[in-house]
């Protein structure tokens, strides 16, 4: 069974997905990061393929990508690193990248090599639904590689249904109309959007991402979806890290911190 499917079958709440850029801070950190994050209690991991022109990303992820590229990271090397760490872990792994990188590698080859390396799903934010459905869906489905599509507060209900239909892993709910790396609190408007989507009874799990940076925003996201994705905040934590394992432990603890409080809040909100 696909590890993502397996995960969602046993856990539907408070899923923590941490993003890091492969090759950052050092070229050979991929395996260390995956194992350290797993040990720290992360449920699934999103590994970014560094890109020269990441349109949907803010300065934090852009810079980590530039450093990673300078360090010599590329897709072929990353897949090799993943296949090695895969021998020691069953945590679901998702690749995130821009479609041009996949095009140059060859879509079919990318899908096959990813599955072979032990990748469970991908996120390609600039691959349009239409192109996927017309040209690539069968390749992904035959290989069993899952794909997550993004939705935003501006996505129409009709299109959300389409996204739900074409997504095969989880739906990536972009928390607000923004690039990655925001640090603001979650607004009333966003809560209304989260609520609206919860009520649509979509068939796939939803993870909220973009701007989730601390315990509070994580807890809020978990109230409205199956979990959340944290990227830039983790990259910022890695930036000054002397010890990756230690950083991962502390970061995940900070995010999950008041676990009991979270349940308490949930109960409380249930009462209101």
């Amino acid at each position: 069974m696909n590890r993502l499917t397996h995960l969602f079958s046993k856990k539907q709440e408070d899923l923590l997905n941490i993003y890091f850029t492969a090759g950052y801070p050092n070229l050979e950190d991929t395996g260390t990061l995956v194992l350290a994050l797993e040990k720290a209690g992360v449920d699934l991991i999103e590994v970014g393929i560094p890109y020269s022109d990441p349109l949907a990303d803010g300065p934090t992820i852009q810079e980590s990508g530039q450093i990673a590229l300078k360090n010599g990271m590329n897709l072929a090397l990353l897949l090799k690193q993943i296949s090695i760490v895969r021998q020691n872990t069953e945590i679901p792994l998702i690749l995130m990248g821009y479609f041009n990188q996949v095009m140059q590698y060859g879509v079919e080859r990318f899908v096959q090599d990813s599955v072979k390396a032990g990748v469970d799903g991908v996120i390609l934010p600039d691959l349009p639904l239409y192109e996927y459905e017309q040209f690539y869906r069968s390749i992904f489905e035959e290989a069993g590689l899952q794909i997550s599509f993004l939705m935003t507060p501006q996505t129409s209900p009709e299109r959300i249904r389409k996204i739900d239909q074409l997504t095969s892993g989880f739906i990536y709910m972009v928390s607000s109309s923004a690039i990655t790396g925001g640090k603001k609190d979650i607004s009333e408007q966003q809560l209304a959007y989260f609520d609206r989507i919860s009520n649509m009874q979509l068939s796939h799990p939803r993870l909220i991402g973009f701007g989730i940076s601390n315990h509070e925003t994580f807890a809020t996201a978990c109230k409205y979806a199956n979990g959340a994705i944290i990227g830039s905040a983790f990259i910022r934590a890695l930036a000054g890290s002397e010890n990756i394992e230690q950083t991962c432990l502390q970061f995940v603890k900070m995010i999950k911190e008041e676990e009991q409080c979270l349940n308490f809040k949930e109960n409380k909100s249930g009462l209101i």
Partner: protein, 407 residues
């Protein structure tokens, strides 16, 4: 040759489309659904035409350059886009897009710029309409096109330095796209060339098509025939070329010459000759030809001309060149500078460095004595005077020939 036009999904042959993150989908979809209706609306048409006439100063003359023709032993006409208000063809597009933005109810305009011509043209129309204007410009370009930065500021625009990546046009475009993602409701993004996701390439080409629309009747007045034998235009993203080719795309007897910047030489590693060095891929939401590594990382181009310093070309041009409909020619920095001086001395016209590339192509193509050749003089050279002067005073200075990063 099949009819050349964008298809339903925004493709010219295999090039085009809209490879954009979901965050941009509603904006781009709105534009896609509305642009043709708005452009065909008689009210819009009237306002657009009247501004082109009374504000921009159109029609721009088609001028028979006799001394140039004598030198090259053929018949050379210059389409004088340099005489437009703000000094380049860019304003044809910004007038169109600002009117469109108004009809879409947008209150904030963003743009990217390389040479600063598109930034100035955007700042100008925003001033004209009283709309807030933010222009993204690479830090490297801010330095080499200082007069245009000052003009934009005087026109009331905010110039935001693009500090990411290589800090030129490509990165200014990335920053503008990110701004649009962050401001999905009140903002319209005025792209300056026939690049970006569908419908931009088609929309910008239509706004610029006034160039070839005028050429038809102007040529008829001059020569008795509506069609030339050759049209030569420089291609950064390709908007002046698209405008100059537009009404001739399906006349296969009209040769289309696309002139790209070769920088220090096509294979010198410091070049922007995309059709030679580029491979198929995605840049700024469009599937086209672009300069990239085998891993798909976009390569920073180089040209002395900021307006041609772009690692891609519009999907229309990728299609025209790949299918053999257009011929691509590459011109180096030095050749372009020489052509600029030559035109100044022969015709009393100082061309923009971008346009100077187009003139230099006359040395590189074959033509006949009796041919009628139109060169699109896309802009005037005021903004480039400093570069020209440095060349005059002792050959080409190291810093204008070195890689963009060293400036």
């Amino acid at each position: 040759m099949n009819h050349i036009a964008v298809d339903e999904r925004g493709y010219y042959g295999e090039f085009g489309g809209a490879f954009i993150p979901e965050m941009l989908y509603p904006n781009v979809e709105e534009l896609k659904n509305c642009y043709l209706d708005i452009m065909h609306d008689p009210d819009f048409e009237r306002e657009f035409r009247s501004l082109l006439k009374d504000y921009v100063g159109r029609p721009s003359p088609l001028y028979l350059a006799e001394r140039l023709s004598e030198h090259f032993k053929t018949n050379i006409y210059l389409k004088r886009e340099d005489l437009n208000h703000t000094g380049a063809h860019k304003i044809n597009n910004t007038i169109g897009q600002i009117l469109l933005a108004k009809r879409l109810g947008k209150q904030r305009i963003i743009a990217e710029t390389g040479a600063g011509q598109h930034g100035v043209a955007t700042a100008t129309v925003c001033a004209l309409m009283g709309i807030e204007c933010i222009v993204y410009m690479g830090v490297v370009d801010i330095k080499r096109q200082a007069p245009n930065v000052a003009r934009m500021k005087m026109l009331g625009a905010e110039v935001r330095p693009a500090t990411s990546g290589s800090q030129t046009l490509k990165d200014a475009t990335n920053e503008a796209i990110r701004d649009w993602i962050n401001n999905p409701e009140d903002t319209h993004y005025i792209i300056g060339s026939v690049v970006g996701p569908h419908p931009y390439p088609d929309m910008v080409a239509r706004f610029q098509s006034v160039i070839s629309e005028e050429m038809k009747w102007q040529l008829e007045e001059h020569t008795g025939k509506q069609s030339p034998d050759l049209i030569i235009a420089c291609v950064g993203g390709g908007s002046n070329a698209a405008g100059a080719y537009y009404h001739y795309l399906n006349e296969k007897n009209v040769r289309l010459i696309a002139v790209e910047a070769a920088g220090l030489g096509v294979h010198s590693g410091e070049s922007a000759a995309t059709s030679v060095l580029g491979t198929k891929g995605i840049i700024h939401g469009s599937r086209t030809l672009l300069m990239q590594t085998p891993d798909g990382q976009i390569i920073e181009p180089y040209s002395i001309s900021a307006g041609l310093d772009y690692p891609g070309i519009g999907p229309l041009h990728a299609h025209l060149i790949s299918s053999g409909r257009a011929e691509a020619v590459s011109v180096t920095d030095e050749e372009a500078l020489k052509a600029g001086f030559f035109l100044a001395k022969k015709e009393g016209i100082i061309p923009a460095l971008e346009s100077a590339h187009a003139f230099s192509a006359l040395h590189k193509i074959d033509y006949r004595r009796e041919d009628v050749i139109v060169v699109c003089l896309s802009g005037r050279g005021d903004k480039d005077l400093e570069t020209y002067i440095r060349y005059l005073e002792g050959g080409v200075p190291a810093d204008s020939l070195g890689s963009a990063e060293t400036i």
